[in-house]
């Protein structure tokens, strides 16, 4: 058992180290397609200038084997842990931290993590409660899925929460998303993915919004009512004319993803979390024997 556990520690750390760098260098195909499609329909001169530069940048990153964006972000991981996976989440966390640190030192990547009051750097993209890891537990399974979402600060700074009241209804939700994205302007590097979390509680709505931005472009919420809200918001946001990098144009967002939870009868929370056009994500599946498969979306 001990040997297996040691190997698994290494397998998870290796997976994290690989995922962090992979995510930063190679943006997902669904994003590339969405950006190309955006360039196809953008009619403003400044918008075209921005989109053509973005497309060129994605190719240059590939050719030069360089990072797409210099902001290596704050490392965020989503873990789905099978109930029979032979490594305890406490050890999984330690391995993810080790992998993040190793990737940062070996590549090397810019270290962004600082103490939130002193602003002093706390190490190679690790610190107290960093990386940030979200957990899900899966019954009757012995595997582990890890998704790495390095989150840049330009887009993360454009996060908004409003505790709408029930009487605000769906209209209130739509208005808040619209005013948030117009107010954000060019700061979160549009056109990107707008993540919206509705329902639950204040903290859970923001958690859902973050989960929403990590979904591939082209996926829809399974609840048809929520999927309709995604479509409505997508159309409305692209009417605002904010455009690529906030310089004006037809394409303000590439996609709108809404995640929801049931809530209290007197609550109507709405959270917005923005993901920039370089919407980075990468996943791995680690089997109980330590063998690892890398996939964009595990």
């Amino acid at each position: 058992m001990t040997v297996v556990t040691t190997d698994l520690d290494a397998a998870v750390a290796d997976a994290a180290a690989h995922l962090y760098v992979w995510a930063l260098k190679d943006i997902p195909q669904d994003l590339r397609d969405a950006l190309a499609e955006a360039a196809g329909r953008e009619t403003s001169v400044t918008g075209q200038r921005v989109l053509q530069t973005i497309l060129k940048n994605v190719t240059v990153a590939e050719d030069e084997k360089n990072l797409v964006c210099q902001d290596t972000g704050i490392a965020v991981y989503y873990c789905k842990v099978g109930e029979h996976f032979p490594l305890h989440p406490a050890r999984i966390y330690a391995a993810l931290k080790e992998g993040t640190e190793r990737a940062t030192v070996e590549h090397p990547l810019r270290s962004n993590t600082v103490h939130t009051l002193t602003r002093e750097n706390t190490g190679p993209n690790v610190g107290y409660r960093v990386p940030i890891v979200h957990w899900d537990f899966v019954p009757d399974w012995d595997g582990l899925d890890v998704k790495c979402v390095p989150k840049g600060s330009g887009s993360e700074n454009m996060s908004f929460l409003k505790m709408c009241v029930p009487a605000d209804g769906v209209t209130g939700i739509k208005k808040f998303v619209l005013e948030s994205i117009v107010g954000a302007g060019g700061k979160p590097c549009p056109p990107g993915i707008v993540g919206v979390g509705i329902g639950g509680s204040a903290d859970y709505a923001m958690h859902l919004a973050k989960e929403a931005i990590a979904r591939p472009v082209g996926t829809h919420n399974q609840d048809p009512l929520v999927a309709e809200l995604e479509q409505d918001l997508f159309g409305l946001l692209n009417e605002t004319g904010v455009g690529p990098m906030g310089l004006g144009g037809d394409v303000t967002v590439l996609s709108v993803h809404v995640e929801h939870a049931d809530t209290h009868m007197t609550l109507n929370p709405v959270a917005v979390n923005y993901q920039c056009w370089a919407a980075r994500r990468a996943s791995a599946h680690v089997a109980a024997d330590g063998s690892t498969t890398f996939e964009r979306d595990a």
Partner: protein
């Protein structure tokens, strides 16, 4: 919308005055990397920057670099950060140090329009996140000051064909950001009316 080539640092104010909001600009010469902590040190702590900023082009950046010798760094990945956080330094950069251009991503809020108009400065919009491309346009890191602020030091880069940039705010009191925001807010009123 015109397209221009400008070499920095500039000595002739006309080089800045010819630029209009929305124009495309490609930059040659030398540019200076600067960020939050660098400007906090200059303005809030009152420490003189050890680099000449007159006629300069400032880039809002905190690059990924590799140290190759004392005070010497090799570029790894150099990109641009959100400007809005640093707007309050605009007036001081222009009036005290003669800075002519500030380049970043996401735009400057309206409070930058008046000092830029008065002092003959421009704001250039770069494409945020396009760091791989930007890195290829930076030929060399020629000088680094205040290394203890790593990566928020003062950086001097030599660039070639840096851009394309868009004039976001010009020296004539026009801002593309204000224009886009005003139109978007009008549009929102229309949208709200049919929700």
């Amino acid at each position: 919308m015109a397209a221009h080539q400008v070499t920095f640092p500039v000595t002739d104010p006309a080089e800045i005055l010819k630029l209009r909001a929305g124009d495309e600009v490609i930059v040659q010469g030398h540019i200076i990397g600067i960020r939050d902590r660098t400007q906090i040190r200059i303005f809030d702590q009152g420490i003189e920057p050890p680099m000449d900023l007159s006629g300069a082009f400032l880039l809002h950046t905190a690059p990924n670099v590799r140290k190759v010798g004392p005070g010497q760094y090799e570029k790894l990945c150099i990109g641009t950060t959100t400007s809005a956080r640093m707007v309050r330094f605009t007036e001081g950069l222009g009036s005290q140090y003669g800075v002519r251009a500030i380049c970043g991503k996401g735009g400057f809020p309206d409070e930058a329009i008046e000092p830029m108009h008065r002092l003959g400065m421009v704001y250039f919009a770069i494409v945020g996140g396009a760091a791989a491309l930007e890195t290829t346009q930076i030929e060399e890191i020629e000088e680094v000051a205040w290394e203890e602020l790593m990566p928020e030091c003062l950086w001097k880069f030599r660039v070639k064909d840096f851009g394309p940039l868009t004039v976001g705010i010009d020296a004539h009191g026009d801002s593309l950001y204000r224009e886009v925001q005003n139109r978007a807010k009008q549009k929102l009123e229309e949208i709200y009316a049919r929700l």
